[in-house]
Symmetry: C2
Subunit: 323 residues, 2 copies
């Protein structure tokens, strides 16, 4: 069995990464969006890395997957009492990574190093979690209420303003880490998986890193994306709303088109099986699978479907080359 | 009733300050030691200010007076799991002031301003808590194990190394804040009280601030110190051990001599009443009072004894001047 590189962020991304880890223990590298990272009161918050690490280490809260289970808010209660910033709740346990990360960055350590140390400390020994870059990239939501960051849009603005577009400040100057290049050049690489999550502000920032698209394409292994949209609804989050506001149809097909000229295969939900032919007509290979991940088993099942799909594409290519 | 300035730090100091506040609500200024302040992971820890604020706002833990009641340690548990610094426990609630203070200092705000805002937020409206200076002073314990800071001596080294002396780095370049000068020049000032706490690393750093001794003496109001030593034992902490190691007798008299040429009166415990004459012979006016502060009433009673003593000294001087 070969190695796999996954592009991920948010809870859907973390869940599929967890499924892939279960099937490809020790051979999984996850490249995580850091475009939503921000600093507050000397803390370095990396929402997608934190969600990934809690999920892969098995300590994510089952309902609130972006924080560790049994999170407490003693710090935040006192902070509010003292008149400190009270918009975004800071959990006591969550602050440990945020504070240690900030301390590491102040000491000019690379985010990749810091993240790999967290993996090790949390007992994540069968997957490598890598930030998409060691350089800062800051995704901006261009909205009717002005340009805002992810945490401002979601927490302060409650996802209300109409989104007109995005830009990824710093992406064109951000470098690819040695660890990402090594993972992509692993001799046994068999697939690149784009996890089911928001294409605009979770996957796109990763793809915008200078040289990333070329690197992903360069190895010629199948690149498979999984839809975060089922039956016209985003499984979680605000992807549906944003798609509508950007003028797109809310559908798996719209997500697939975001990855046009990049992916080789697209996974939709069984519920949308009727769309298979339509999406295939856009130039993608398409399969349907159960994309809801309620249980741990669901995660592994979806991962298996994705890897099987990649194997089929590889086999087809091999047959073509042989024929 | 006039105003009072108290010099304080640690738990004994905070308790007497609280007693004075009860008697002189609105007319008390407490100057607090900041020589033990330190930074860790971007947090600005001010142990003596924190103890004072928790005590005066009534939220100090009854047993562990340096932290708020019902403190939790979720952050610290996760920090240890992540391999972070694990010597000094960081409480979830306690971190709120430490983080906000650090944030304020990074924004180049004065420690005095930040502290007064905390007072206000915590509902301490009848006492002004002022750091001894807005400039950093770093008390060093000169020990057989090298020069260490307070938190290292107490937490890391468990008070074990023999203490040979102290120095107060930065004190000679530290300035007196306008707020301290104003408090000392309040027209109704009636006494300066040196609270019962370690004379070497809690009161001495305050006195070492450039110009502080002169300022305290300049107004000519009685300066009264209260012993932290009763019957040859420090009421709390390591004062006794340090006194022995510095070659002093462990007694109230040794403390009084630390304040030689500064104080006008010295308060010892009733238990040490036999020493009154001996200490008086060193040139101090001396009274005995109950110095143990177990209850809130004890705090106010000791405060009353101190203020009565100051009144007696003022009356004696007035009589002398009139005679």
């Amino acid at each position: 069995m070969g190695s796999v590189v996954a592009l991920a962020g948010q809870i859907g991304g973390a869940k599929l990464a967890d499924g892939l880890r279960r099937l490809r223990g020790g051979q999984l590298t996850v490249i995580v969006n850091t475009g939503d990272d921000y600093e507050t009161m000397g803390l370095a918050v990396s929402p997608d890395i934190d969600t990934m690490l809690y999920t892969l280490s098995g300590i994510a809260d089952p309902q609130r997957g972006w924080e560790p289970v049994e999170e407490t808010y003693s710090f935040f209660d006192m902070l509010k009492r003292l008149g400190g910033p009270d918009r975004i709740p800071l959990g006591d346990r969550s602050m440990a990574m945020q504070l240690l990360r900030a301390e590491g960055l102040r000491q000019e350590r690379r985010l990749t190093e810091i993240t790999l140390e967290f993996c090790h400390a949390l007992g994540i020994n069968d997957a490598r979690v890598l930030p998409m870059s060691d350089d800062p990239v800051r995704t901006q939501f261009i909205t009717e209420a002005g340009d805002v960051r992810y945490h401002e849009y979601f927490s302060d603005l409650q996802c209300e303003p109409v989104v007109k577009g995005f830009f990824y400040a710093g992406a064109d100057r951000a470098g690819l880490s040695e660890e990402i290049i090594n993972a992509m050049y692993a001799p046994d690489l068999e697939a690149v998986v784009i996890c089911p999550t928001n294409p605009y502000h979770t996957i796109r920032p990763i793809l915008e890193i200078e040289g990333m698209r070329e690197l992903l394409k360069s190895r010629g292994v199948p690149i498979i994306a999984v839809t975060p949209i089922v039956g016209g609804n985003a499984l979680r989050g605000s992807a549906g709303k944003i798609m509508r506001e950007l003028g797109h149809e809310v559908s798996a097909r719209s997500v697939a088109l975001e990855y046009y000229q990049l992916i080789d295969g697209f996974v939709i939900d069984h519920e949308d099986e009727a769309q298979v032919e339509g999406i295939r007509a856009s130039g993608f290979d398409v399969v349907a699978a159960p994309t809801f991940m309620r249980t741990m088993e669901d995660r592994a099942n979806l991962a298996q479907a994705v890897l099987d799909f990649a194997a089929t594409i590889r086999a087809g290519r091999a047959a073509e080359a042989a024929g």
